[in-house]
């Protein structure tokens, strides 16, 4: 079946001009290929500056990708004119991180949800109010909320309005950019449950952008981990979270705080500070921070390798030519992959001291 969304080799570069003759390129995203089937969620996971939001914007063509293709249900949308794109906007919607910032403070929230309805000619003029109330009902708001202003609602209610607005056009794909990270924990849980229910009812495809692996584990079907503009690991959610291949994924998972005071966790810490995305090297971008880095890592390009079907990683250790021979037999499941190179045992890293 054709996936709802597919990107092929998506790239976004921002040229920086620092002097008259000096040019530098900020590579926000590079070689990003993802695919989301109907009714499923792909989580793009990464930290500040990893390029996850850039990918979300390129998918919606809020940013023009420098290179690569975006396909909606198999049809390329990267080359479309603005007028052609407008008709497609019905199918592509977005929910933003800060619910208050993304709602016009002078409009009643009902009007904000009504706007896409009349822009796309979805509901007849007289039917708009009842359609808005129906949408409010779907996201757990009452008809009495329709006439409120955004600041009169709590954070969780504002985010429900944002979701209602995204659903108004019955989209096929919704890009969720950190939709719960500005919310209180007790309210975040409600929104996560709401998104799960809506997806099940409407077979929505979600591109879920997040830095929080715990939230990802609740919402996602598959995961792509990004570091400095590149996907460094991708695969089915439980596979990636339970058996991460890439050192960065391992560090992300092991850096999350413990859940209970007595829990003892094996920790893999990244060294030092995040690297700059300006003119990144061709080799593995994690080298300066990776506790497992060895000389080969900065000598050859790091390529995304499919280690087992559906499961890929961008680490030199998994590139066949740098392993001692092939995998025999070729592994079919992630659990069959032997990650037994001695270098993969990190030195115990406590807080780095100079």
């Amino acid at each position: 079946m054709t996936p709802v969304l597919e990107t092929r080799g998506l790239k976004k570069v921002y040229p920086l001009r620092s002097g008259l003759f000096t040019h530098a390129n900020l590579v926000a995203a590079e070689d990003v290929s993802i695919s989301i089937p109907r009714g499923e969620t792909l989580a793009l996971v990464g930290e500040t500056g990893s390029g996850k939001s850039t990918v979300g914007k390129c998918v919606l063509r809020l940013e023009e990708p420098t290179d690569g293709e975006v396909l909606l249900e198999g049809k390329p949308i990267t080359g479309l004119k603005a007028s052609e794109m407008r008709a497609l906007r019905r199918e592509l919607q977005m929910v933003y991180q800060d619910p208050l910032d993304s709602l016009n403070p002078r409009h009643r929230v009902g009007e904000l949800v009504a706007e896409p309805l009349w822009l796309h000619g979805i509901a007849p003029k007289r039917g708009v109010r009842s359609e808005v109330e129906r949408l409010f009902g779907t996201v757990g708001l009452g008809p009495h909320h329709v006439d409120r202003l955004p600041h009169q609602l709590s954070g969780g209610q504002q985010q429900r309005v944002g979701i209602a607005r995204a659903l108004a056009t019955s989209p096929k794909l919704v890009v969720l950019d950190e939709p719960t990270s500005a919310l209180d924990v007790s309210v975040q849980a409600q929104i996560i449950n709401l998104l799960r229910r809506l997806q099940a009812e409407r077979e929505l495809a979600f591109l879920f952008i997040s830095h929080d692996l715990a939230v990802v584990s609740l919402l996602a079907h598959s995961v792509a981990v990004m570091y400095l503009g590149q996907i460094v690991e991708a695969g089915p959610k439980s596979d990636v979270l339970e058996r991460p291949f890439h050192p960065y994924t391992q560090a992300l998972i092991s850096s999350a705080p413990v859940e209970h005071p007595t829990e003892v966790k094996e920790r893999i810490a990244m060294r030092g500070e995040p690297t700059s995305p300006v003119d990144p090297p061709a080799h593995c971008r994690l080298v300066p921070r990776c506790p497992f880095a060895k000389p080969i890592c900065s000598q050859v390009p790091a390529e995304l390798v499919e280690v087992v079907p559906g499961r890929s990683t961008r680490c030199v250790r998994f590139q066949r030519e740098h392993r001692n021979g092939e995998w025999t037999p070729a592994p079919e499941r992630a659990a069959d992959v032997v990650v037994d190179l001695p270098e993969l045992v990190p030195a115990p890293i406590v807080d780095p001291q100079p």
Partner: protein, 324 residues
């Protein structure tokens, strides 16, 4: 052991004054901080955790004022001190670290100059000696290459480095109490882990006493000896960290623990129904009753008081005995 607590907060009440109303923000907040312990204050937005810290250090914004209670630091009531005396205490005895480290550093000065100012003002150190202590402080907080870092401006440092710098500044005067307000919230998870490790090490090596304000129960599990849970300006539960995680007695604490998303099994999340209450309309009697599944008539009529559930474990709920 019978040594007196380092800090004793008694019946602290704070309100915010707006043109149209006086809004109570803290309602009879009472707790102790013992020497050498890490006390976590947990709550969601509007719970009063930050206002508690600002009331204790007398750093409330103009609209806020303490209207009752005592804050005893080594037996002295801070609320009765003059601004001048309080400045001295804040510089030398109590330090604070805030959520957004870059916003708390002077953007016009290299961080080394800021650090020297602190050392001069509070410890009378100059020149070579100030420089030597600066280097030691940076080493303490795990900042490599101190000579280079000290020349940098805040915008040239990453978020994690800024937060280490803030902690170095807070430690510069050799305080006996550090108050950290969401010190890791603005940081990425790998950097958050570095800062948590740093605070752990400082506690082990220097016997740091810390009040850690956070909404993140994971950070509490990593660091805290004792925990205070706040809701809508009141302490609803207080106890040793293990007790709070293993035997929570307040429905709100139970709800918070159940709301945490975790990596693993794929069930639906419990959450807490309803919304975090707004300051302007704090529910009467028990502030949690509109969201509470144990709620009965008495919860609307009578405010519960903190009762001892077990030694060191206090809870403010009419029905705590029934909650297991």
């Amino acid at each position: 052991m019978t040594t007196a607590p380092l800090l004793q907060v008694r019946r602290l009440c704070t309100e915010f004054v707006t043109p149209s109303a006086r809004l109570p923000v803290l309602d009879n907040v009472e707790f102790d901080v013992n020497e050498g312990e890490i006390l976590g204050i947990v709550g969601e937005s509007g719970s009063g955790k930050t206002v508690t810290a600002l009331s204790v250090t007398k750093l409330l914004p103009a609209a806020g004022r303490v209207v009752g209670g005592e804050v005893l630091f080594r037996g002295r009531n801070l609320l009765a001190l003059s601004d001048r005396q309080m400045n001295k205490i804040r510089g030398e005895q109590i330090s604070m670290v805030f959520q957004n480290p870059r916003a708390s550093l002077n953007p016009l000065l290299p961080v080394g100059v800021t650090l020297e100012q602190v050392l001069r003002a509070h410890r009378g150190l100059h020149g070579e000696e100030a420089r030597r202590i600066s280097f030691e402080l940076l080493a303490d907080v795990g900042l490599p290459d101190p000579a280079r870092v000290l020349r940098r401006y805040p915008h040239e440092l990453s978020g994690g480095m800024c937060q280490r710098m803030m902690i170095a500044l807070a430690l510069a005067s050799g305080p006996s109490l550090l108050i950290a307000d969401e010190p890791t919230t603005a940081l990425d998870v790998t950097i958050q882990f570095q800062i948590i490790s740093l605070l752990k090490r400082l506690r082990e090596e220097h016997g740091l006493t810390l009040i850690l304000i956070t909404h993140n129960l994971g950070v509490v599990a990593e660091l805290c000896d004792r925990v205070i849970v706040m809701y809508a300006g009141s302490i609803v539960e207080e106890g040793p960290a293990l007790e709070i995680f293993d035997r929570p007695r307040h429905p709100y604490t139970l709800g918070l623990l159940a709301s945490r998303p975790r990596v693993g099994p794929n069930g639906s999340l419990a959450g807490i129904p309803g919304q975090v209450p707004d300051l302007r309309d704090r529910p009467p009697a028990c502030p949690f009753h509109p969201r509470c599944k144990y709620e009965q008539d008495v919860c609307h009529e009578q405010a519960p008081v903190l009762e001892q559930a077990s030694p060191g474990h206090r809870v403010s709920c009419h029905f705590w005995r029934e909650i297991v």
